[in-house]
Symmetry: C2
Amino acid sequence: MSKNVLILPGDGIGPEIVAEAVKVLNVANEKFNLGLELVDGLVGGSAYDVHGTPLPEETMEKARAADAILLGAVGGPKWDNLEDRELRPEKGLLGLRSGLELFGNLRPAILYPQLADASSLKPEVVSGLDILIVRELTGGIYFGKPRGIRTLENGEREGYNTYVYSESEIKRIAHVAFQSAMKRNKKLCSVDKANVLEVTVLWREILEEVGKEYPEVELSHMYVDNAAMQLVRAPKQFDVMVTGNMFGDILSDAAAMLTGSIGMLPSASLDKDNKGMYEPCHGSAPDIAGQGIANPLATILSAAMMLRYSLGEGAAADAIEKAVSDVLDKGLRTGDIFSEGMQKVSTAEMGEAVVAAL
Amino acid sequence: MSKNVLILPGDGIGPEIVAEAVKVLNVANEKFNLGLELVDGLVGGSAYDVHGTPLPEETMEKARAADAILLGAVGGPKWDNLEDRELRPEKGLLGLRSGLELFGNLRPAILYPQLADASSLKPEVVSGLDILIVRELTGGIYFGKPRGIRTLENGEREGYNTYVYSESEIKRIAHVAFQSAMKRNKKLCSVDKANVLEVTVLWREILEEVGKEYPEVELSHMYVDNAAMQLVRAPKQFDVMVTGNMFGDILSDAAAMLTGSIGMLPSASLDKDNKGMYEPCHGSAPDIAGQGIANPLATILSAAMMLRYSLGEGAAADAIEKAVSDVLDKGLRTGDIFSEGMQKVSTAEMGEAVVAAL
Ligand SMILES: CC(C)[C@H](C(=O)O)[C@@H](O)C(=O)O
Ligand SMILES: CC(C)[C@H](C(=O)O)[C@@H](O)C(=O)O
């Protein structure tokens, strides 16, 4: 039975880094007899340029039909000033997440021993760092209604958004988080602002309730301001963290940056049946797009995650991850992770080195 | 003319650290002939225990009558499970902020050269760090309505809060931020999530508009997820940052922690006439309350900030800050900032050392 993978390069450095991941997938496909069929699609600004919308119906159909999706990144200054906000590249990404109900976003923050120096934190604070952030991805203030900008009676304008979660939305992400914790060190820290926000009072209550089904997991709660501090102060205290869409956006980026190598970090966004979309944690980096210097490893590792979580091909995933580790051992580095004494390579050279190692 | 200062010790370590700041204020009062009259009041859990409310009307009246307010910290596990959320300690603090319209929250993140080692970041990343975070404090999702937890038609519950800002609320905090930038290095970074949240689209627009009145200030915009990353990666790129209540809560704590000495950082919350409430950036630390080991310096420095911003006593403020620097030079350290070779002192010893240096 063939497995259908939708490839969405997106904008900025997206096409460059996805091209390398596709090379790796093609080789893994042959070597491990995976039966992958790769299909292409447009999303984000590049879709807007062709179809006048960041999420063409054709892409949505391909996405529904796919067994898994590999995405580069979306967005860029070219489309930042589009008057109609619904047409901006980000709406393509948000539309995919919500249209496919990819509510479970897994963002690992791992320090690669070969890159220990790249972190802005002291080595003893981050060596061996291995955190998993579980972010709710299809609810919260990202999608809450009402939202907009309106004119008040006194003539001035007011902007408003709604931060909302229902019990069932909280429950399903809680299960993802507890299950992830069960596969790791059985420690789960739920992040909220329950001293101020009612929506997170409910969040905390439901986390406690679902926690009863996972008595082996040690559940703790932390306010988001404290969590941001603790990530800087002593990140190794965490195993799995779970939080809503907005706090997850902020904390997962901070956590990723602790490793000093955000160009290395993959992510998975899963629906209830583990169908998923995989993308690097970093953005579309328009400032370096087209120069062939972006780091393709986060996308290649996203492809590995895809094989493991959505396609049941753990051995192929292991092999890709091993190949990435091997090229790092050899001293190959793109500019973002370069340090004295290493060999600086281009996007394509890095991709080809992974292919060779595989 | 005498100047009326309301002292609100609050909960946890609040009373211990405020006691030291009061000693320092009393000495400065005599030495510089400041004409300060200190009045006491209850707020937070300690007010609830006596009056059944975290913000007794008596305290509110004293606060309105005062020229400035010095606050310790509020909150603690003792009151975390109060059924009626309106009675929790935090509501006392939020009630003061909003009742007095203290919308401009200034949170400096400064690395004390004497404490450079205390940071979890590499010295080269943080040495000389001096950021000012300007946080809007009486609006946004902290106070937005509607808010609550309701039961939906299908029987499940839903929690909701409203993130809302009007043009005039954004304008007044923008002016505070630009004016702060004018007094510093004339660089202002406004933090929003304008690619997702409409309320921050308006925020960005108004910041641009107000910026025209400050042509000397270089204004930039950054998404909050990127800001959290950049604070970890290269915090010295920032001079002044301005953002809303919720993002400001998160980013100011992260920024404070970069210095490794959150026990050192003061904050000011100002109304339109620069009347203000001053408090340490750290919380009530119930885990170490009553042990006499908390660091009183953030509160002492908050008192100095109060003299400078609200009471027009810059010379006395300078003297207190100099005294704090002197005791650090002498090697005195409370536990939170202790390092090998220094002399560990108690809360009271630290306070008395500052008094002596003054
Ligand atoms: C591009 C943007 C809409 C997106 C988000 O905020 O979710 C990105 O920051 C991310 O974290 O995947
Ligand atoms: C205690 C709490 C309500 C408060 C806040 O969130 O504003 C605190 O974290 C702060 O930053 O002053």
